[in-house]
Symmetry: C2
Subunit: 691 residues, 2 copies
């Protein structure tokens, strides 16, 4: 609570000081001073500069301490080496700072040290610092531009948080063209202290904000980030994230098969999906999503039906193809009434089905009657109007028509005028009057699709641990420390604690005497905690059909793998129906991540794998199983019986619990898990725990 | 040859008649009359209208026959019902017509009959007809607009062929904005007689055309289409195709497993790839590809190295991510010299690595020196300049700089100015001066990638058939007609003719007496040409381990499948290493198509399947195997031995040959083909031929 109050002082200040305000044109200190005064900000503004008396006609103070009153927020534009000093000096009168100055963590060792010291200062004095190395922030509803970006965007309900000041500038510039309004634009720069999550938390409570758009280059505290995004979602605020670059892979997990697949970028996407946030894939897509978000109020609850009206067949067909790509949207089937009405309106050659082709010679009356008819159809949620500027096309009149119609309907009209010079004025006119225009039907459809279905947010609350079970696992792991690490025997014992079935095995390291229960064909495997890719290294021999072959295999393995304490185990060969790989790794950002994919080459080559970010509930796991890449297992492909979703979900859940109940475990790998679509129980053929 | 000469009369006429020219503003006949006169066309122009004496100040003739001279090309704008008559009447003096009038094949039975009659007229009188139901055509280099689209685009080297007049109009409008020039714009309308392929053939020989862009809704004669595209490619002319809608699936092949996968859209893509043409996925992408094509001369021979210069870190990182998506382009590694030069130019905080971050306060000097340095690096082929309009950014000066630099270098400079109102003038300035500007780095990268690697065009020449072998197959098939169709025995015999190994089998329909050579475990299968999905229907029983089990299976199968003439066969169960599916089907457009994919669910669910359009050479097959979805088999995944590419290629080749040597065969299905990465030979477990 305290945190939030502080940020509201920073982002909705009643008084502002510009420390390092300058009278010299072109200097950042001048731009900010000018920008703060340039709009309708009604709070008090103070300029600080010990070497000047007046700037922009306004009195200048030598320091914050000389003002004689407390200040809500100070913008700091002095050179990096003086930042620490001025903040320390001002701390008695001001607790919120925006450090514009560069020369910190982003620039070498000196800067890095400087940032560490500044962070320490902030923490010890209970000070909030936005930045350093940032653009500042803008709050259109306050008429406040506390940044060195020129101008002030329209007031609106989109909050933009950007780790790149330049991208924020580009976005505001684009937004001016598209008539997008903002509740706030905040540049977080080095996010030394105030990160994206802190701002999301603030905007969740900001009544002016409905949508939160972010550009990020990385996330530090994954769990905190997800918690705040989930909160936004619960409060009906859509979050859109564009993230660039790839974070470091979890080094400790690369030894494991599944580890090598977990591009942490996949984990990032899975994490966003978990909390109902949208991931934009490019700047362009971010712009398109924000455009749509800025002009709509919240999400659609169910599949959105689109009616298309076009004056050109080709683009209509192309848009139909595009709509088919997105399961969340569909081509509306018109009612009889609609078709009859269209039949009366349109020439014989025109189509009264969706897409409605008005033909190239469509005049404004034909446009008006058709669009009104389609809008009135109860099976239509959104009308997409495509226009190519043919000779008879009343381009500007159609724009005007759409503007009028949009004012009178709650259904969204989306325009896509295709062309260049002949449509540009009309497009500008549409935008100025808040009719949605997308350059391509595809970007419109993608945006609509993302706003359909209010995805459930899964629990981010860790379940309690089973302390008795945890103690037992603890003992097994402690025991393993005394030997060479965790052998298959130990892993199987842990699996058993969590009700994961493993294939029975016998240790034949010392000979075959006691192994009469072995059924053939069987498989012999080297077992040594230090040997990870045993199949690749020839540590698995199968099929073995006789006792003689088995003993030969045993000797061969012991000779090949002379690593200390190697053991040889034998298991029956089970019939193969379908193989999965289930793994656990610790992501440096988001913590425990479970991977579940198809066995063998299919995970590795074709990336048929889903990521599950812990904590997990059984119902979340089942939901992901049902809706992502493994879904086909439960659909009864080609008339086959379905696989047992509950059983697979329980294994995934158990793996998450093992990871939860012992934080020393670095990675887990079930490879393969044999699954069946008859009554046979799923069984882990190999089970590896890395500590 | 004759065909081509005719089209050159049509598309480069020295005299034009407008039949149905009108003096009434707003009428299509008036627009065309006006357009033909509006530009610098130097040929003779005649207006035909029996009810008018003068139009636009020009003498009007009652009919073509009254002109008293031959006419190269007549544009027909009379109502549909009079078209046949005027063409018939004019045929003595004119052999080339463009029928603008609608009301033909596109509009019901009456129109359809009208088009059939017109086509007959054209064929019997040796007449060329473009259209009907088209926009007309425009040849900028002749100053000729013979269409009802207003204006005339810039002269250039792109020929546009569009099945949608509206899309052509939109494209020309966009092209005006982007300063794209055309050698010709031709609307093909109903393509009754002159189709896309005929025009491609013409443009291959047109010295003014370097790139051919097309919008198509369908292709009729696939082989002819591919031959002309291949010819274009051989002549160094890039072809870009946007195709909408999905063609009909080959109905006769749906009975077969692989048949159901062959969305003929995949076949279309495979066909284009075969002849080195580019497929655009959307209008947007078509525009972007044409933009790039219009400003470049031909393709890049090898991987293109990109150097990025940006005044904003974020977009630079995003563009780096995008470049990583395309294997044909790469981030350039700068030479030491370049880095040293950049170090001297740039402030300490700036990056001298690729992407070069000039920082937000970059002035024009910093821009100039950096871009010049990067352009001079021999490891850089293309410089991508990203700009966001920050306060200190000299947006217009940078545009001017890029224009100057582009004039002095053969390397391409590509700009991407990110924003809205603050960059729009600069973008327009860049475009007017022929500096490439893309709205997003992604569309630029995609375009560059498509123009890298002069893909080999594969032979379109059918190989001679092996008549002896053909005769033998003929006999087997004839024999099958006398029975119930082709049994496994017959298919295996055919396979043997083509050196495809099948798993040995025994017919045990009548009992087990003679089958002492069966090795266990084995599999029993129902064998009946009428039963296609035998596995799904329970017609395959395995594993069978004893003679008793086998006889039980035999009886069970015969009881379950009481279809007349059912047989039961038995085969040994082979060890499974990797399964492929190889199939053949006849595509209604492109003819014989081979599919090769991963067995089981992986073809069906994950579409791990490649399409091969016949005719095929062994080297083409190997090339596709090496470069598409099955490539991983030959890479030695996870240290495994590679699979035998030559052997798999030979099977695919053999299937194509079987299809070639007997046109009665509707489909072939090897499902599965077991392949091995040791010395074991690949073997077809099931081999089905559908006639």
């Amino acid at each position: 609570m305290e945190e939030k109050q502080k940020l509201s002082h920073l982002l909705r200040p009643e008084s502002i000081a510009v420390i390092g305000a300058s009278g010299t044109k072109g200097k950042v200190g001048h731009m900010i001073a000018k920008n703060v005064l340039a709009h309708s900000f009604e709070g008090d503004v103070y300029f600080i500069n010990p070497r000047r008396k007046k700037i922009l006609g306004k009195k200048v103070y030598p320091s914050v301490t000389e003002i004689g009153t407390n200040i809500d927020c100070a913008i700091v534009v002095v050179p990096a080496e003086y930042v620490h000093e001025v903040i320390e000096d001002s701390a008695r009168f001001c607790k919120n700072f925006v450090v514009i100055s560069a020369g910190f963590g982003e620039s070498g060792t000196v800067g890095h040290n400087r940032e560490s010291r500044l962070r320490l200062l902030a923490d010890t004095h209970g000070i909030n610092i936005l930045g350093p190395n940032c653009l500042g922030f803008l709050i259109p509803s306050l008429g406040l531009n506390a940044s060195f970006a020129e101008g002030l965007p329209k007031k609106g309900h989109v909050a933009l948080i950007s780790q790149s000041g330049a991208l924020a500038v580009a976005m505001m510039d684009k937004a001016e063209e598209d008539h997008i309004g903002f509740s706030a634009v905040v540049s977080i720069g080095n996010k030394m202290q105030i990160g994206a999550a802190d701002l999301v938390e603030y905007f969740v409570d900001d009544p002016n904000t409905k949508v939160i758009a972010m550009y990020l280059e990385g996330v530090i505290r994954g769990a905190h980030f997800l918690r705040t995004l989930a909160k936004a979602h619960k409060n009906g605020k859509k979050v859109i994230v564009l993230k660039s670059g790839r974070t470091e892979q979890a080094q400790q997990a690369i030894a494991l098969h599944t580890g090598s697949l977990a591009g942490s970028d996949d984990v990032f996407s899975a994490a966003l999906e978990k909390v109902g946030a949208i991931r934009a894939q490019s700047m362009d897509e971010l712009f398109a999503l924000v455009l749509f978000a800025a002009h709509t109020n919240g999400t659609y609850e169910k599949t959105v039906n689109i009616g298309i009206v076009t004056n050109a067949g080709g683009p209509g067909v192309l848009a139909t193809d595009v709509i088919a790509e997105f399961p969340q949207i569909t081509m509306s089937t018109f009612s009889k009434k609609t078709k009859n009405a269209l039949k009366k309106t349109l020439p014989d050659a025109a189509s009264v089905h969706n897409p409605v082709d008005l033909l190239g010679d469509a005049d404004i009356t034909r446009y008006e009657q058709s669009i009104k008819t389609v809008l009135a159809d109860e099976h239509v949620d959104i009308v997409l109007v495509l226009l190519t500027p043919q000779d008879q096309t009343p381009v500007d009149a159609v724009a005007k028509l759409l503007i009028d119609l949009q004012k009178k309907t709650v259904k969204k009209i989306i325009a896509s005028f295709i062309g260049g010079v002949r449509v540009s004025d009309a497009i500008a006119h549409l935008r100025e009057n808040d009719v949605l225009h997308f350059t391509t039907p595809r970007s419109a459809c993608r945006a609509i699709a993302e706003f359909v279905w209010n995805k459930k947010v899964y629990s981010l609350q860790e379940k309690n641990v089973d302390t008795a079970r945890r103690k037992k696992m603890r003992m097994i792991i402690d025991r393993s420390y005394e030997q060479n690490g965790l052998y298959f025997e130990d892993a199987a014992e842990i699996a058993d604690l969590y009700n994961i079935q493993t294939v029975p095995f016998f240790d034949i390291t010392d000979g075959l005497s006691a192994n009469s229960r072995i059924t053939y064909p069987c498989v012999a495997k080297i077992d040594n905690p230090r040997i990870v890719h045993k199949t690749d290294r020839g540590g698995v021999i199968a099929p073995i059909r006789t006792l003689v072959e088995l003993d030969r295999a045993r000797k061969h393995l012991l000779k090949t793998f002379q690593e200390k304490n190697s053991r040889v185990i034998v298991q029956s060969l089970l019939p193969v129906k379908m193989e999965l790989i289930i793994g656990m790794q610790r992501d440096p950002i988001f913590g425990t991540v479970i991977l579940a994919g198809l066995g063998g080459i299919y995970t590795e080559i074709f990336h048929v794998v889903d990521h599950y970010v812990a904590p997990l509930t059984l119902s979340e796991i089942k939901n992901i199983l049902t809706n992502r890449v493994l879904a086909f297992l439960f659909d009864g492909v080609r008339g086959e019986e379905c696989y047992n979703k509950d059983a697979i979900a329980r294994v995934i859940y158990a793996i998450a619990q093992i990871a939860r109940e012992n934080s020393e475990i670095v990675a887990i790998d079930i490879n393969p898990l044999f699954i069946y679509n008859n009554d046979t129980a799923d069984v882990a053929v190999d089970f590896k725990i890395i500590i």
